[in-house]
């Protein structure tokens, strides 16, 4: 391999995604142009995978500096961490693009389709810039573009007052988060004298303790907003469900991961660990996000909202791993810190695969039945076998069942919790093993939720005419889903493929960490387990007898109807009942007429779940801002003389400051 050719490949990926694809789409609205554009995106993704694979497996990185042609220092690099996230983006984006090729054609008119694809391509570019950035400016440019382009993609789906409101909330929260990220970058500036990542890392040790805490907290809040940790998750269940399904797949599967990337880059690469309590903070937030995320998800019956809440849950699991790692770092146990970090990063990758697959599945369902309301679905497995099977694989993966990829990362997280018992610090020694219980509860509830999702949507009898008449989606959509499902299975059965390079990556991030023996253990035991399970299953084929179709027993009624099946709401009722303290259901029963309670002419029943975040957390904050703005308005008289006075006063005070204070 010629030196320099990986750089060339990477630069051409950037140029193709950023320039060629939009130009092709702008030039012509024919199907041919669009096919060419999609093919270019696919080739770029493959080239990106290739560059990332070289960087990730071989550790061959490079640095590209564009500072000569840009007005500010702009440089991109591929080190192992960037390569890992580049691999994630490109691996997920390629199947999503194949899926979207048919999906966009079916759902949007001529003109909008081209816009969609152009934004899609630029959105990919912005995410690649974020993870490959090697200077603060490059990172922030990518970060901002990513937010705006995803908002554009959401708005392109349709235009209504509600949608605009949701997008507004999305943009507001993203910019509040971005402000925190900018601030944490600038706090490094007095010590590093540049925003180059290398300089920042070198300065990491020079930053005084107080500023370190501030940087950590700002990065935590800034990236946490993007990641959707509770209580900063407010935008997530609003923005993800209203985006077109392939875009939801990218937003949930990939865009959230850039926040994990940013957090890891800041806390591990720049700061080399946070203050001693940082691990506890991240663990707490992870546990709360994981538990509440899955509990909110169970109560949903809109499939895409449900999946959005599961993103909150999985980000919670990732943060559990990150928090454990920080805790081990604070207690000088680098090898266990590496294990927990490997678990978190692997879960990041796994979540990207299965969550994008789930959103593509939701897209297929809405393509076939024009709804994603679980109560209207049912019996789709027989009508859409490929979609159903791929979706089932994704369900098993997200639940963390063995032989599927989610298990590997959850297992590693469990083992790093268990390793906490070797610490000498009493607090950590008790809290970490108890976290096993939290993660087990999250896993158990996730299993309940996905039995509900798959059972209600794909099994049993159809609950509506649309579901009854559903047919399998076109081939490209099936191919996109099958590719992601295959990736889930591959990592689930041969986890060593990713684990070994991840261990090398963690040695870069955590100095002094060796290769934890747990990753070798899981890589060895899983294929054996798979062999035993599949062998025993093959054995059962011996007991095959003639099959006969007979109607389901109907308790003596003439026949069953689809309305007799358990619905999504009914299925989750026991769990909602047990955890009613979390949901605080708001029920209202109206009997009419009111003066005859025992002989009502009509009874209406309404039940709503109140999410109290807006009321108790955000409303007071917004009220405070509005009140403060009202106060400040007195300064703005609109009188030009007063403004001149302000300028004069500012000038005088600055001069005084320069002359006497400094």
């Amino acid at each position: 391999m010629q030196p320099g050719s990986t750089e060339l490949a990477f630069v051409s990926v950037l140029i193709v995604l950023g320039l060629v694809v939009p130009l092709v789409l702008a030039a012509s609205r024919t199907k041919g142009a669009r096919t060419l554009a999609v093919a270019l995106i696919l080739v770029s993704c493959l080239a990106g995978c290739f560059v990332a694979a070289l960087g990730f497996w071989r550790g061959s990185g490079f640095l590209l500096t564009f500072s000569g042609v840009t007005p500010f220092p702009f440089s991109l690099t591929i080190d192992r961490l960037s390569a890992f996230f580049l691999l994630l983006i490109c691996t997920v984006a390629a199947p999503v693009a194949i899926f979207a090729f048919t999906y966009f054609d079916h759902h949007y008119g001529e003109q909008r389709r081209n816009w969609m694809w152009a934004f899609f391509s630029l959105f990919l570019l912005s995410m690649i810039v974020v993870v490959a950035a090697s200077s603060g400016f490059a990172f922030l440019v990518g970060w901002e573009l990513m937010t705006l382009l995803s908002a554009g993609l959401i708005l392109m789906e349709g235009d209504s007052a509600e949608r605009r409101h949701n997008v507004l909330i999305y943009l507001l929260m993203m910019h509040a988060g971005a402000a925190a990220v900018v601030a944490s970058f600038f706090l490094f500036l007095p010590y590093s004298h540049s925003l180059d990542f290398g300089a920042i890392r070198a300065a990491g040790a020079l930053v005084p303790a107080g500023i370190r805490i501030l940087i950590f907290l700002l990065a935590f809040v800034g990236f946490g907003t993007k990641a959707g940790i509770i209580p900063l998750h407010l935008w997530l269940p609003r923005a993800h469900p209203i985006a077109p399904s392939p875009v939801s797949a990218l937003m949930s599967g990939v865009m959230l991961k850039t926040a994990v990337y940013g957090f890891v880059r800041f806390t591990f690469y720049f700061l080399a660990g946070g203050p001693w309590w940082s691990g506890y903070l991240v663990l707490l937030v992870g546990a709360v996000s994981g538990l509440l995320g899955v509990l909110y998800a169970i109560a949903e019956h809109d499939l895409k909202r449900l999946l959005a809440y599961h993103s909150v849950e999985n980000i919670g699991i990732i943060y559990l791993g990150l928090g454990t790692s920080l805790l081990f770092l604070a207690h000088h146990a680098p090898i266990w810190a590496a294990l927990a970090l490997i678990a978190a990063l692997l879960h990041t990758f796994n979540h990207a695969l299965f969550k994008s697959l789930l959103f593509l599945g939701a897209g297929s369902i809405s393509h076939a039945t024009h709804t994603v309301d679980l109560e209207e679905l049912g019996g789709l497995q027989r009508r859409m076998p490929v979609t159903g099977t791929a979706f089932l694989i994704a369900c098993c993966s997200i639940v963390g069942l063995p032989l599927f990829n989610g298990f590997i990362s959850e297992w590693l997280t469990f083992r790093s919790f268990l390793a906490g018992s070797i610490l000498t610090n009493t607090k950590a020694q008790i809290i970490l093993p108890l976290m096993v219980g939290i993660l087990a509860l999250i896993g158990g509830l996730a299993a309940a939720c996905f039995v509900k999702v798959f059972g209600v949507a794909f099994l049993g009898r159809p609950r509506s005419a649309e579901a009854e008449q559903a047919i399998e989606v076109p081939v490209p959509m099936r191919v996109g889903m099958a590719a992601l499902a295959a990736a889930c299975l591959l990592i689930g059965i041969l986890p060593g493929l990713l684990l070994r390079p991840l261990a090398s990556l963690c040695q870069v991030l955590i100095p002094g960490a060796g290769v934890p023996k747990e990753i070798l253990m899981i890589a060895r035991i899983i294929p054996w387990t798979a062999a035993v399970v599949l062998g025993a299953m093959a054995l059962t084929a011996l007991f095959k007898r003639a099959q006969k179709k007979v109607p389901t027993w109907a308790c003596g009624l003439p026949q069953l109807t689809s309305r007799m099946q358990y619905t999504s709401t009914a299925f989750s009722k026991p769990i909602r009942f047990v955890f009613s303290a979390v949901y605080r259901p708001d029920r209202k029963i109206d009997r009419l007429p009111a003066d005859q309670p025992y002989f009502p002419a009509s009874i209406s029943y309404r039940s709503a779940r109140t999410t109290s975040y807006e009321k108790t957390l955000y409303r007071p904050f917004v009220d405070f801002i509005v009140a403060a703005a009202h106060r400040l308005r007195r300064l703005q008289t609109g009188n030009i003389q007063v403004y001149l006075l302000y300028i004069f006063l500012t000038l005088v005070s600055l001069l005084v400051y320069l002359r006497f204070v400094r």
């Binding site: 069942l401 009493t426 509860l441 299993a447 299953m537 007991f543 006969k548 389901t552 069953l560 358990y566």
Partner: protein, 313 residues
């Protein structure tokens, strides 16, 4: 030789599973002053079911037919994790209890889906109830095992058993008592025994596990039944191996293996006797009292984990 014994252990757990059910049934019958069926009758039932034809609901997809096989495959795999006569097992040296617990979850996940594929109200009801119980049982199960693992300093089941085997029988700590309590409660809930679920019920509205498998028949039902029996036997063997392993063969000789085997059957019989007494004496819990039952198990297991700190000093 060691591998041959490990294989033998897995076979004991798999083939001896229906016998355990027969013994419980016999003891229960004796307590209730009934004649009772032979202890071999579960085998006869399985043979009968395997010979029958498979009835499938019209709305069912491949998931319905596939689910019993997954359940059986995971049950067999789990049986390869648990030591019986010597402190090792086929997969026990590298496989830990997290993998064991999640393999059980894999089987349960598919069986719940199979229950929902029939398209009747009862399958959904069973799956929904099972989802509630198993989601709450996961945490106490793992925490109880975590407590033992911390004491033993090993996470693999073979290491945990070998550690307990080296301890003095009169030297057991509070951790062991707490962990055993919580695990025994979870095993009752997980394997669908009284007071959580009534395995002999014939009333659909009170069923949990039975409601889920209501639509299965013939070989599929036989697979489900034998998988549940294997799972139950494995859980019992796990409790014995973790909390009363004394008597296991530490050297490979025919006599020590035979003695260990005999002792294992005695221990299992005692445990079954206890279970039969409990099952005959208590009424099934109301559905919404089960979370309280599992809540107690969770609290006890969390205490067990916290107490490992004291035990280590």
């Amino acid at each position: 030789m060691k591998i041959a014994i490990n294989l033998l252990q897995a076979l004991i757990l798999i083939l001896g599973a229906p016998l355990l059910r027969g013994i419980i049934g016999r003891i229960k019958a004796w307590i209730q002053r009934r004649q009772g069926a032979s202890i071999w009758s579960p085998y006869a039932d399985l043979v009968k079911l395997f010979r029958k034809e498979d009835l499938v609901p019209p709305s069912a997809s491949w998931v319905f037919r596939f689910a019993p096989r997954v359940l059986f495959g995971t049950a067999v795999c789990v049986a390869a994790f648990v030591p019986v006569v010597q402190p090792s097992a086929l997969l026990a040296s590298r496989g830990d209890f997290f993998l064991l617990a999640y393999l059980l979850a894999l089987g349960r996940f598919f069986l719940s889906l199979g229950g929902m594929d029939g398209g009747s109200a009862l399958g959904g009801m069973g799956a929904s109830r099972e989802a509630l119980i198993s989601s709450l049982a996961e945490a106490p199960f793992l925490l109880g095992l975590v407590a033992v693992a911390i004491l033993a300093g090993h996470a693999d089941i073979a290491g945990m058993v070998a550690w307990t085997l080296r301890q003095n029988i009169f030297n057991i700590s509070a951790v062991h008592i707490l962990a055993f309590t919580s695990l025994a409660m979870v095993v009752i809930a997980e394997t669908g025994r009284m007071p959580v679920d009534n395995p002999t019920t014939h009333l659909e509205l009170t069923m949990i596990h039975e409601a889920m498998v209501l639509e299965y028949s013939g070989p599929s039902l036989a697979l489900v039944e034998s998988a549940s029996a294997i799972k139950f036997h494995t859980m019992v063997a796990l409790l014995i191996a973790l909390f009363a392993p004394w008597g296991m063969a530490t050297s490979v000789s025919v006599w020590s293996i035979a003695a260990a085997l005999l002792l294992y059957f005695l221990k299992a019989a005692v445990l079954m006797g206890l279970l039969a007494v409990v099952e005959s004496g208590v009424a099934k819990l109301r559905m919404y009292l089960v979370p309280d039952f599992l809540g107690v198990a969770s609290a006890v297991s969390a205490l067990a984990v916290i107490f490992t700190m004291l035990a280590k000093r």
